[in-house]
Symmetry: D3
Subunit: 171 residues, 6 copies
């Protein structure tokens, strides 16, 4: 299986925020945004593994700037690293008021997907070779984020998470 | 402002998984599930604060058991604790194959919402007083989960997170 | 085939009324409400027969209190009685303005479903044994409502509908 | 206020049955059909009163022939009679398999609407003058159907429903 | 294969313009209108060939009068002519403000469909025999419109388009 | 009003083809594709004029390669030229089978939009200055396409369309 590049998994999605997507104050509902983010990230993962994928986990996501009704939503997704049968995708989400020419970062997130064979069982995926400095930084951080996921999901003990533990006992 | 009870924020949502909600293998897409979870949790938060709310953060969510096309999806939401202007909601999601009489826990999650005044600015919310043992356990854990959120969101330094830090240096 | 209990068929559905669900005055359109009622009732019927079902009839439904945009809609469904291959489900629908803390009964309805085998033909369903006084009252009334349905659907002559006829000639 | 003609309220709606509209056996869900029927009937009522309307009641509806995925659905709606502030609409629904050239009547129904002024309060509607024999028959039957609605809705005592009562004690 | 009549392919579709169908000024978005036009025209084509069809081309469409939120949209479609495996459908679209009793022609269009066999390959369709003067005029014009389509699609050289060429060099 | 660059109006939209978007043979319906194309193009036009826009016309569109269920749809849009109050946008649409790693051009199209002031009346838009050879070629061709639109829309006589006429009488 050949190594692949993050650039080949780059996905851009553009959507307009419509009335049914917003709450009574005219802000995009967080769940609708998560829906779009999941689709953009799943496309990115499928570009890497060339097979169906299923969402395995969504990292802690903070919604910093609400996106308003009628605004343009742009999502950029790119694979950071693959782990045997799973893939981590990094997303950035912007809102944009096209009339006011005001564009703002709404949030960032990491989603993890598992590649599936035709019977719905996990299958191996290609490794990825980062090329730019930013891609390498993302690639390295993926290991730490994976430890947080495993601990928070109850699948790893904190004392086993070497890299993460250093965060708390560095003093 | 009067104290309220978790039971008053209890929400049950039932949905059928339709073709457009699934990927090519017939599994519910993670993003559609997040969409429904967000709505159920937002209703729970609104039952507590009686005002509009906006999603502030979604904790690390793992999708353990895929939910199949045609299955019944049941989401239960209940407020665990409020913090000045924000509220944490605990969700459990079940899938159910009604013909096979097979019901399974799909995942659990914590979502946080901010209460808004009519101008879209944060407003104070009532405190909540847990009544059962499970509610008290959820109430206590909310503090630790909040520290994780603040650290992961870059708004608190790990060394300030007393309760969380103990998790890593207990040995 | 084992007798079952009404409580096992209890379904709660929660939905938010969104812009596309309302008419130009901001009231939930009756047809959208019927759509949600049908899904909630179908789930209830499937919980009883554990097989696919198809809507056979909707009883006379009156919409008393309009439900407003942004309000919470709650539907409760429970099976009242089964008749060989069909099942009657009783529904109550509430609207709720969460900010004003005002909850109101919107309407009640009875829907009937037919259980289907894998070839789409009617199949026998379990009997149901009411347990509470209300469930017994619902169970008894189901016979009378079935006569009305059959007469209004042209499948029974008025003079054959003993229980119903008494309603008109009791004086 | 001028009298109007049933023909001016004639509405034809054509829809294709898509995957999300059907249950797991590929039959159109009853609730989705009710949704379309309500919209077609509301348009018919609005053509008569030229103002917003709200669904007041749906008469007993039987679904006789299931409509299949991919089939064409045709709904015809026409006003039968108006009563001060309300209007009764008669609907016929056909399914059609365009490849097999097979068209079948799925069901008939009567829906009642109330005309609303800009403040959402009932307002008077024009009378209607039937022109054909079929329209006159529909017009006459509307009185009897209204009595059934009022009795079933608990707003009229059976002994007051002269025309309806005759149905049961004609022998 | 028997010749058929345009009247047998007549389709009427009625839709209400809902919030999600409009832009921020409350006008129906052109793309949503094209979506409905395509479905109405595809039904018309299927009524002629009694088999699945796929959109082959959409002629130049001008949107003259914007259709407003809450208005009624009516689309009328009728087949003009068939060409071996393809069919041209003529559409007229009206908007209507039911409260103001104001109806206006929004636009006209020609869509072309190809008939498909069960393997998705083009199949022959019946010829059509126009009956009215208007149908005959539509039938004759179809040849000229087809030449424009083939030239604009790069599948015919301008000098081969006899009828069309006359338009430009008639002086 | 400052001149702007085509690159600033570049829009990329990615969508997955879901069951409800396809006909019974599993091909994306042409109307749904037109819907997405209109939104992508409208965003591109809004990036240029920074105000609301309304679709004025869609040029002759040919659908060459059907896009299949589950495939990825990618639309690229870029402004070619502006004319006082209107803007022409060029679109390319690709389908992609991510598992088979097969990407194909589905179609190209030109859509024209009119810029609107807050009262819904046409307003002037900035001129655009092409920078690359391809942009310049698009810019030059826009004049000829505009003449075709005006002739086909009955707003210009063929003999007035100098550039277009040359196409037919060049021999």
């Amino acid at each position: 299986m050949q190594s692949k590049k993050p650039q080949d998994t780059h996905v851009i999605m553009s959507e307009l925020v419509l009335p049914n997507d917003t709450n009574t104050l005219g802000n995009l509902m967080g769940g609708k945004l998560m829906h779009w983010m999941d689709i953009a990230a799943a496309i990115s993962a499928q570009k890497h593994c060339n097979c169906p994928v299923v969402t395995a986990s969504v990292d802690n996501v903070s919604f910093n700037n609400p996106i308003k009704l009628g605004n343009l939503l742009t999502i950029e997704a790119k694979l950071t690293r693959s782990f045997n049968t799973s893939m981590e995708v990094y997303l950035r989400v912007w809102g944009e008021d096209l009339s006011a020419q005001y564009k703002y970062l709404s949030n960032e997130a990491y989603l993890t997907f598992v590649a599936l064979d035709p019977n719905g069982r996990p299958r191996k995926v290609p490794v990825i070779t980062p090329e730019t400095d930013e891609e390498r930084k993302m690639f390295d951080g993926a290991l730490r984020r994976r430890q947080i996921r495993l601990i928070l999901g109850g699948k790893m003990k904190p004392e086993e998470a070497g890299e993460l533990r250093a965060l708390f006992i560095k003093d």
